[in-house]
């Protein structure tokens, strides 16, 4: 079921406009190329509407947010909406500062997002629910576990409905929902959180998947989340005792590059709730 999603990425090679942070931007560009898409990064207000117009989809990421880029995010988002392009939001660090929380909320108010992807603390901050945060990581108290999964699914569905966007809450167990159907995904490895930007990369990957599959945003987002986690698992099998997070980062990108339709179809580990 997910293999068609990947096949469409490979066949259509969607061009994705990214307004993103300077920490993980190189990895975001490389994961887009790895999956078969194509990246362009542009964040100046003077060009973002034009750039987003020649692209198929838009990925907005608020890490290293600054006053120069906020109006560019709004303008690009509105233009993408007008053109009917898929738009993804990664609310990096929402809850960690008022600037990030307020900007993320303002983005959700002014732009219609196809997918919002973040960790549980970030999505809680966006929802206005009280949430703890450990910087850009989910707070331990918030984490989605087998024990609180039912609760997490209910929260994700309710958030997705209110936001009118497919919502992907990623962590040890990922929950991807459009408010009606929820995919609970158990791909991935805990060591992925020891690499900076695996979340940012997943958001870029998700943008490619929903852009290549515009009529099935829920399934496309779930496929992207499975693909990222699965590539984390495949990459882990290459690890030698001397390897650490730098090699693991490379191996994950390599795995995305080499991921076959069959691997994704067979390796995707999810249940629908």
């Amino acid at each position: 079921m997910f293999q068609e999603m990947l096949q469409n990425v490979r066949e259509k090679s969607p061009l994705i406009h990214n307004i993103t942070n300077y920490v993980t931007v190189n990895d975001c560009a490389n994961i887009l190329l790895a999956c078969g898409g194509s990246p362009i990064m542009a964040d100046d207000l003077a060009e973002v509407e034009e750039i987003t117009s020649i692209c198929g989809g838009l990925n907005i990421n608020i890490g290293t947010l600054n006053h120069r880029t906020i109006p560019a995010m709004i303008a690009a988002g509105k233009r993408s909406n007008a053109l009917g392009h898929p738009v993804v939001l990664d609310p990096v660090g929402a809850g960690a500062s008022a600037l990030r929380t307020d900007t993320a909320r303002r983005l959700v108010e002014e732009v219609k997002f196809t997918v919002i992807r973040g960790n549980i603390s970030e999505i809680k901050a966006l929802s206005g629910a009280s949430a703890a945060t450990k910087g850009v990581d989910a707070d331990l108290a918030d984490r989605v576990t087998e024990e609180n999964l039912g609760e997490a699914v209910a929260f994700a569905k309710s958030f997705a409905k209110a936001a009118g966007a497919v919502t992907a809450i990623t962590g040890a167990i990922d929950v991807v929902t459009d408010g009606e159907t929820a995919y609970c995904i158990r791909n991935g490895r805990p060591e992925m959180s020891r690499i900076t930007g695996t979340g940012c990369q997943l958001s870029a990957l998700t943008a490619a998947f929903v852009t290549a599959n515009p009529d099935q945003p829920l399934r496309a987002a779930a496929a992207a989340v499975c693909a990222m986690g699965l590539c984390g698992e495949i990459a882990w099998t290459r690890m030698t005792p001397a390897d650490g997070n730098a090699s693991y980062r490379n191996y994950i990108l390599d795995a995305v590059y080499n991921l076959t339709l069959q691997q994704l179809e067979e390796g995707a580990n999810y249940e629908v709730r």
Copy 2:
């Protein structure tokens, strides 16, 4: 013939000032170190003239262009001109937005460039010729092939003459010309375009080569283009089935680091037209 160009880079270890984008900047710094040069990145108007003065050459790259850095590019370029330093322009994404096209043209008007390096779509956009673009990649319709090579060489020569700069149009076949002599280079691999920033890296490398060989900008630029492509070939021989664009990126930088004079001399694959 090209080995002397590389030898001079290794012996002189040119310090290159880079005003470049935040997507591929780390790779640009590492390729400069790999080839034997030394990088410094600085983009604030308050310091670029001073920084460029202590350097041997300047590399201007308009990816992730923004209003803060445009005046810095102009000021650094003019100062470099006044000092007689080589200056390289990489017009990333010219043609993709008015901001980029206009800024690239303004740069060419106000600064004398030693080398302009871009893909065919970018150089066409700079020339005012009608050109399609796929974001930061060359449009398929524009690509230089064996069939249209004669035409491409004629265009490159005419552009180089008009711009008064050695022009390097890179793609499946690279054309490097000063308007009189053209090197047609068949090094490289198509998979290099699946790595973000191989073009940006080549521009940084070219800056090191022309700075270390100030009296032979055409030959130095052609040597840099051959070296980059050849390193893409050498790196490819290391690829295992599990490797993808992340490992390939590393292997290319490693190959630049280890490139011998003899490898370059024997591996350079070009004809002169």
Copy 3:
């Protein structure tokens, strides 16, 4: 003695706020994750005080300095001081431009730093002593060698006393001192200078070490310097003939990820003067 310093990093997992350059920021984030810490990058004046408040320590790095981030550095530094958080300064390129030299000096005047880490040229520029610089690298004439080590230690001690900060002057031999005691460290390899950002990474690592060991800044900083150099040595043992600076960069981060308490205790190569 140094193993407790590393153990505390692993156990406390300090969250470090980084205001740093866009060249090496990804590596800084990954080394913090590799050592067991956690990074957050934020540089907008509107959020830096809030961000630094939720962190344990602050790392300020003036590479790619610009007018937008200078007030953010000052504000974050003052807030960290008010909260009693450790603060590290990396005066990248001080001496290379008035903007960098003046900003570094202003930072030292307005913010109390726990550790200042730079190469000898940068620290000399900060001290007001006449210094040469090769961009962001130490000038050859300045370099600390066995011959001038006594002199370098005396200079470092006098600078540390005047600045009221542990000072780490890194190079072929590293000198880390609080003005009274100096650790002279002989870990590391010359090839580390062929990778962009090993200095920036060390500053981030140092911030994690002093944050996890707030009562022993001298010992913590010396441990971080030994750890970085030792990981350069360990990584070097993995190098194959085809490997260059890209693979070496990855291997060093991997070595930090895998560094054991025993490796650090046994591999730290220093004398106290």
